[in-house]
């Protein structure tokens, strides 16, 4: 041992190593304990199956032709295969809009045909702005509007969860818009529900202000969210932005899903949300589907993002 202030004896080195080992060991044990507590809190998981499992797919843009994805039909087929190979049958599949790129009858026919290949008892959809480019959504409703109300909105109950599918793409200015009729529908639809009913809301355009400069928000969403404030668990799933994003505001959690067609830039990255061209391998990583599960007694839904690989 010298008098130099920064040298360390073997004894000191061993002592510090022991403290470091203790820190690592305790952290691992702590992590295990916390994970275990989280796991046992999930009572139904012990029984092996969540109460509700479904898949979200979005923005297939059937009919798109461009460098960003030269074969969107093939990508959508891969997405369907991915859903059919999850290892279980999802209770339903939701397509959160922009099924087609230009809303032509052929494109609606093609996407509808393709979706018959989904291995699930129910397929639900909401329209994107690309599905109503020239007719305020009439062709969309002819193809997918059976059983819906108003301009295509609807709700249903499944496994104790109340699901609301909204249309916020028909009266577009810059932002999405729900409109008075649809707001009335939601107010009446949820009026009799107990506050502990889990709520899931589907829409194409985000119901939160993700990036209003690019129209990534809904101008009267605050109204509908105020109706939902009394519920303990509200989950909003949307498409439109072609990328994964999440946000919580009080009792509401918002999740933007990715696309099966082509990525868009991150908010504010460039002058406008134009399709981004990526190398093939990176494109496959950017495209995907989402698994969602809900277990009774839990407030939050569990999400798993899956690439098309």
């Amino acid at each position: 041992m010298t008098d130099a202030p920064h040298t360390m004896s073997r004894r000191q080195l061993i002592r510090h190593s022991a403290w470091f080992g203790a820190a690592v060991g305790l952290a691992v044990v702590g992590g295990e304990v916390i994970s275990h507590v989280a796991g046992t809190a999930d009572a139904a998981r012990v029984q092996g199956r969540p109460t509700l499992r479904f898949a979200q797919v979005s923005d297939s843009h059937i009919g798109f032709m461009g460098k960003a994805n030269s074969n969107v039909a093939s990508s959508f087929s891969q997405a369907i295969d991915r859903i059919n190979n999850l290892g279980y049958t999802p209770d339903f599949v939701i397509h959160t809009g922009d099924l087609t790129h230009l809303a032509t009858p052929d494109q609606f026919d093609q996407v509808k045909q393709m979706m018959t290949g989904l291995g699930t008892p129910h397929v639900f959809t909401v329209p994107g702005e690309h599905d109503s480019v020239d007719d305020a959504g009439q062709k969309y409703r002819s193809a997918f509007g059976a059983g819906t109300r108003g301009d295509g909105w609807y709700s249903f109950d499944i496994a104790g969860v109340h699901v609301i599918a909204l249309v916020n793409t028909l009266n577009l200015k810059k932002l999405g818009r729900l409109g008075v009729d649809q707001l009335d529908f939601v107010a009446k639809d949820i009026a009799a529900l107990p506050s502990d009913t889990p709520i899931i809301v589907f829409s194409h355009i985000p119901l939160f202000a993700m990036y209003p400069d690019w129209g990534w928000g809904t101008d009267d969403a605050a109204q509908v969210l105020s109706y939902l404030r009394r519920f303990s668990s509200v989950t909003c799933l949307n498409g439109h932005v072609h990328q994964i994003f999440s946000k919580t505001e009080g009792n509401v959690t918002f999740y933007s899903g990715t696309t099966t067609a082509y990525p868009l830039p991150h908010p504010g990255d460039g002058p406008a949300p134009k399709p981004v061209t990526l190398p093939a391998a990176q494109l496959r990583d950017a495209l995907g589907i989402r698994e969602v599960s809900y277990t009774r007694g839990q407030n939050a839904l569990a999400l798993k993002e899956r690439t098309l690989q």
Binding site: A22, L26, A27, V37, S246, L301, L303
Partner: protein
């Protein structure tokens, strides 16, 4: 060790533990399902609790620096999640209440107490 030293050690350990418990609570109550953020919360909670325990029983000074860096990092992550987003995740204001505020105060306290500890240590060494 002096009384001031024991108090400082206990204070840092308590502040680190509060931040760790808050993150563990949020992890258990839903955050574990958020991609990347869930894992980050689990790591933050388990490392914080380990550091708190070892600081409390009189571990070496570098444990406090580790705690200060963890607390500082958590504060930066908190700030990012309220502004530009973090791994595609963002939150607003002090939600979820009261855990967001509790964690932020505990982390500020950790950084502050560690800074005091540094200044006092330098003064003691002359």
């Amino acid at each position: 060790m002096t009384l001031a030293g024991v108090l400082s050690r206990t204070g840092i350990a308590a502040a680190v533990a509060v931040s760790g418990v808050s993150h563990a609570y949020l992890y258990i109550h839903g955050y574990r399902h958020i991609p990347t953020i869930g894992t980050a919360f689990l790591v933050q909670a388990s490392v914080s609790l380990a550091l708190a325990a070892l600081i409390l029983v009189g571990g070496p000074a570098w444990l406090r620096w580790a705690a200060a860096m963890l607390a500082g990092g958590s504060l930066v992550a908190f700030g990012l999640s309220r502004t530009v987003g973090l791994f595609g995740f963002s939150e607003r204001g002090w939600q979820p209440s009261p855990h967001a505020a509790l964690s932020a105060v505990a982390e500020l306290l950790t950084v502050g107490l560690c800074a005091v500890f540094l200044v006092e240590g330098r003064r003691a060494r002359g």
